[in-house]
Structures are given as C-alpha cells and as structure tokens.
Amino acid sequence: MATTSAPSTAAAATGAPEPVLAVQDLRVWYGTERGPVRAVDGVTFEVRPGETLGLVGESGCGKSTLGRGVLGLTPAGTALDGVVDFKGTNLVGLSPKHLQKLRGPELGLIFQEPMTRLNPLMKISEHFEEALRTHEKGLSRQQRRERALDALRGMGIPPSRYHAYPHEFSGGMRQRIMIALALVLRPAFVVADEPTTALDVLVEAQIIKILADLRKNFDTALVLITHNLGIVAEACDRVAVMYAGHIVEQGDAREVFANPQHPYTRELLRSTISLSTTGLHYIPGSPPDLVRPPTGCRFHPRCPVAMRGCAEHEPPEVVLGSGVRTACWHQALEADPSLGEELGQGGRDALAAVKEISVADEA
C-alpha cells in the first residue's frame, strides 16, 4: 500500500515515546487447497508503551490473524512477510526458539474462550509456577508465589483460591486468571483477542474496566481485538478499522468515532445497534472471499459512495490533519487532487453496483 507521508515523521512531531511495536506492510497468508487466503495483506501500524489500540471489523476481516501473526503463532503452512519491529528486533523470520523466549515476558496473548484455555489437570498455582520458572529463572519459590498472588490480586482473584483447579472457577474468573497469567511476566506488548465475547454483560464490563486500568497502571501496550465498537470507545486510545485484510482507517479513537472518514468506518458505526439506536441500518452484502479479493478498493462492491475508479485502483493511504490515516479515494483526492488522473477518464463517476446487492451476495 502506498503511503503519501512517512508514518514516523508524524510520530516524531508529536513527541510521543518510541513505539514498542512497529508493524510495516505485514502479510499473513494461509495456504489452502484453493490458493492462499490473504487474511492480512499489507498492514502497517504502531503501538506505544501504555497505549491501547482497538482493532475492529466484521468477522473474517483478519483481526485474529493479525494478532497471532505478530506473535508468530500461525499454523503450519502460513506465509509471513513484512516487518514486525519489536524493540528493534524483527519478529518476522525469527527462529521458533527465539520467539518462544519472547512470548510471555515480552509478548502476551489473551484469548476469547477462557473456559478451555487453562490446562484442566493443572492447578492455577502450577500454571503460574510454570510461566515464572520458564522465563524468570532467578526467582525463588517464595518470590514466584508472591508475584503470582500479586497478579491475581490485581485481577480480583483472592489468594485463598491459589491452589484450586480451573474447573472450580466461573468463566469471568477464568478470564481474569488468564489476564493475570499474561501480566505476571510483565510483557511490553499484549494482544487480547475478543477477551469478553463469551462473557456476561456485567462481567464483560468488569474485564473492560480492568483492561482500561491497565494502561494507567502499567506501561503495557495493548492491541484489543473486538467486534464491539462500544468497547473500543471505552477502553482504547486509538482504533484501527480492518476490512478484508487491510487497515482502512486508524487514528485517535475519539476522533474516529466522532468523525469517521472511511466509508466502511461510517457504515460500521451506523449499523451497530446501541442504546441510542432508533432505526436499523446495515451494510449490504458481506466481506469478500480472501482467496480472490475484489480488485481496486476491496470495499467497492459494498461501498455506498464508490466511484468507477475504485473498482480498479487501490486507494492510497493518506494522513489527515487530525492524525487519522485512511485509505479511500475520496480523502486521497481531497488531499491531493492530482491523484485523480490515476483514476482515469470517468473514474469519479458513481459506481451503481451497490444498489443491486441482495441477500444472495452474502455467502
């Protein structure tokens, strides 16, 4: 993806701390019989210490793939390309042994289904012992215990339950244990992949609160993957909107929610049902098959403001005055009208295709 302005200059200007993680043009393609699934296809973003980046988008847009790709936790037969710069080391192409050493003390991952993520035969204490013994060899038994109890306490798990087995806890407690287990090693960067989707409303709010407090109390950089735009608004500093393997818009969460630029972001926000919903709105069609994604802008078959040129030419990413970066021809042309030539003759005419999308195109 072409970018009209170098991302690092924007960061330098604001005087923000160095990013913990800088992802450049990352691609994660799954090998299948039908051909490669381009689940993540050229993605660039950064996260700074203590910052929470929300990652949103419809199902199948590649959010989980991106989260795992960064940690190198992809299944066999997956192609990884690009740069994942973590504190100066490129994680792409790092040896499995080296990656294993980083996972835990530097890179953490919190999963969606807390019920099945703990080994049913091991006590909670054994999980913590294992993690700490693997990564912090210098600690004494007593120190390990204190560290573990500290982390659990922070998540509201009483020390009297330290030697219990996973099945003795409810879903919400297990998710808090999983978070404690990730945080006990004090990683610099954590991916939380829909950590609350399987939980009840009130427990979800508790976990969101914990995650929101995280950035106040630790320097952990967090990527929070979610379907729920409300969670992003409440717990994230910045947001990245993904569509079909691309990040189509990213920037300050308040700014993006208050003033969405990319047509997909706008549609996504409009179609979300919230307490203030008074009418139903939805995006026609469904996200594309990532083996054969649409040419040009991947959103063009569903975009209400698509232009003819969108179907053939991929939109460049532009950085707006607000710091928001977005990849849509409308913003690109506004920023630099000369780009219009690329769209060619009649390239700016409205594309009529959207009106014809029916339920049949959902599959």
Binding site: L71, L73, P96, Q100, K101, L102, R103, G104, P105, G108, L109, F111, E113, T116, R117, L118, N119, P120, L121, E130, A131, T134, H135, H163, A164, Y165, H167, M178, L181, A182, L185
Partner: protein, 340 residues
C-alpha cells in the same frame, strides 16, 4: 483443599454403589449362560460311567434338582461367601484352582500389560506427536495388524520362529529347574526369588517372554490407536495454544500439557481392555501350555465340568468389575474434574 478430598470420598462411594448392580447383572448373565448350554452337565461330566441313581445323587449334591430360581439364589449366596463349589471331574475346590493357577495367569497378564505399555506408549505418543509422518503410518499399520491377528496365530508364529533357540516356547518353567521350588505365592518367579534360586528366576522370566509378547500384542493395537488419537486431539487443545502463547518450551508443552491430558482417557480404556486381556489369556495359555486359570478353564470346558466353568467364569467377571473400578479411582485421582 478439604472440599476436594470430600469430593473424592463421595466419588468412591458412588462408584462402589454403581458396582453392585453391575456385578449382579454379570452374575445373572453367567448363571443363565451356564443353564442354556446344551446337554446335561452332570451326565456329560460323568462320561456315562454312572448309573441313573448315582447321577441323581450327584445332581442333588450339585443342587441341580432344585427350581431354577432357588439355584440362582444358591449361586448368589455362594458368590457372596466366595465359595464357588467343587469340580465334578477332579474334586478340586474352585477357589483352590484360582489360588494355585491364578498366579500363573497373573504373571502372564502383568507381563502382557508390561509389553503393551512398553511398546504401545512410546509408539502411540510418537505417532500422535508426529502425525502422518512415515513413522506414524508404519505404527498404524503395525497396530491394525497386531489387533487383527488372532492370538493362537501370533502364538504359533512365535513358537515356530523361536523353537530350538534359547527362548522357551512352552510351559512356565523348565521341569528340572522347577523341581525344588516350593509354591508359596503361586507366582512362579516370586517363588524362585523366595527360594533364592537365581537360575530358576532367569528360567522363569525367559519362559514369560513369548507368551507375554503374544498376549501383549493383542491389546497393543488398541492402545496405540487410543493414545495416538488422544495426543492429536490434545495437541489441538485450546490450552496448548495458550501455553505456547505464554512461551512454555515446546518440549514441556508436548509432555506436560499434551501427553498428560491425552493419557487420561487412555486409562479408562485400559480398564475396558482387561476383559479382552483375560479372554486372550485363555487362548495364550492354551497355546503355550501355560498352567494358568485360562488353560485350566479350557480343560474343564472340554470335560463339560460345569461347576468348574461357572466358578472360573464368575471369578473372571468379578475381576473385570474390580479392575474397572480401580481404574476409575485412579482416574479420579489424576483428573480433578471427575471428582465433583
């Protein structure tokens, strides 16, 4: 936690309660099967040597003249008092047969179990871990072959292959060596140890090898399959991925997380294998002229000694129930989820 140990106690109590109807059903089956067997057991056992009066007398002693239901109650009563009757043909007490020949059967089944675990565990773990590798494919073919091959066929093959070599192909011991070994425990190798006769120990172990392998191979196929499938499954487990995400070393992920969890269901299956193992033991003992309960059973079946057969089969049934119960307890000890 005290709560857990209470749970375990309760679980054991539950399991014991459950065993009662199970034993009752099994005993009833044994009883009924014995009655539907063709021919008159008493006259057959006597081989036509007795007159009608003597036959009737024999029948009375065996309680066969009573109504069926009364016989059934007698039978249950005998089982409760562990009195399984006295054989027709050689007037041995069935309980003596069990004690005297049981040792040989026990050493054979333990030997077989040892072989099965020794071969099956590493092969199963390995082929599950390296799924679809050349090793895995070979292991699967091996498993299917051993499972499909009848015991006497494997046994005969082993005998053919090793006859005349240093490996004995029949009997429990060399008659000369065993001459001055006193039967204390009725487990031959143990008795040799007690006697302090090292030559006899070596001889006894050598005699154990082929029968154990023959019987062990019978269950090793099922064993490999079970372990392999469970390892594959648990390697895809969510907690495995989570452990990797925590940077747990791959070797530990495989051994501590995948293998341990894979073995829990295998232990349950092991309990079910005991029935197969006992059935196989009967044939193996016959093939290798092994002086266990199984070969004794076949002798009595041929002589149509129905008291003996009923007694021995009853004991086999009780053993199967007992072992499956023990296995469940072991399972409960290992897996905290079973207990509540």
């Amino acid at each position: 936690m005290s709560k857990q140990s209470g749970g375990l106690g309760r679980y054991v109590a539950q399991r014991l309660l459950l065993a009662v109807p199970m034993v009752l059903i099994l005993l009833t089956l044994v009883f009924l099967l014995m009655r539907v067997a063709p021919g008159d057991p008493v006259s057959a056992a006597a081989g036509g040597k007795l007159g009608p009066e003597q036959l009737a007398e024999k029948r009375r002693i065996a309680g066969l003249d009573k109504p069926l239901f009364e016989q059934y109650l007698d039978y249950l009563g005998d089982v409760v008092t562990l009195d399984f009757g006295t054989t027709f043909v050689d007037h041995r007490k069935v309980s003596d047969i069990i004690i005297e020949n049981g040792g040989a059967t026990l050493s054979l089944t333990l030997g077989a179990l040892f072989v099965a675990v020794l071969i099956g565990l590493p092969i199963g773990l390995f082929s599950g871990r390296y799924r679809d590798s050349a090793f895995d494919v070979t292991a699967r073919i091996f498993g299917i072959t051993t499972y499909a091959a009848p015991v006497f066929f494997t046994g005969l093959l082993a005998q053919l292959a090793f006859s005349g070599t240093w490996l004995p192909t029949s009997d429990q011991a060399d008659p000369l060596t065993s001459l001055n070994i006193e039967s204390v425990t009725h487990i031959y190798v143990l008795d040799c140890l007690i006697a302090g006769d090292w030559n006899a120990v070596e001889d006894g172990l050598k005699h154990l090898i082929l029968p154990s392998i023959t019987l062990g191979l019978l269950i090793v196929g099922v064993f490999i399959r079970m372990i392999r499938i469970n390892v594959i499954q648990s390697l895809h487990g969510d907690y495995i991925e989570a452990a990797r995400a925590r940077g747990v070393r791959e070797r530990r992920v495989v051994t501590q997380h995948a293998f341990r969890n894979a073995l829990v269901p295998v232990i349950t299956v092991l309990g079910l294998q005991v029935a197969l193992l006992l059935g196989g033991a009967v044939l193996t003992e016959k093939t290798f002229n092994w002086p266990g309960v199984g070969s004794t059973l076949i002798t009595y079946i041929n002589q149509r000694d129905y008291i003996a057969v009923q007694g021995i089969v009853t004991v086999f049934a009780l053993v199967v129930v007992l072992i499956s119960m023990l296995i469940d307890f072991v399972n409960a000890l290992i897996d905290p989820r079973v207990r509540y």
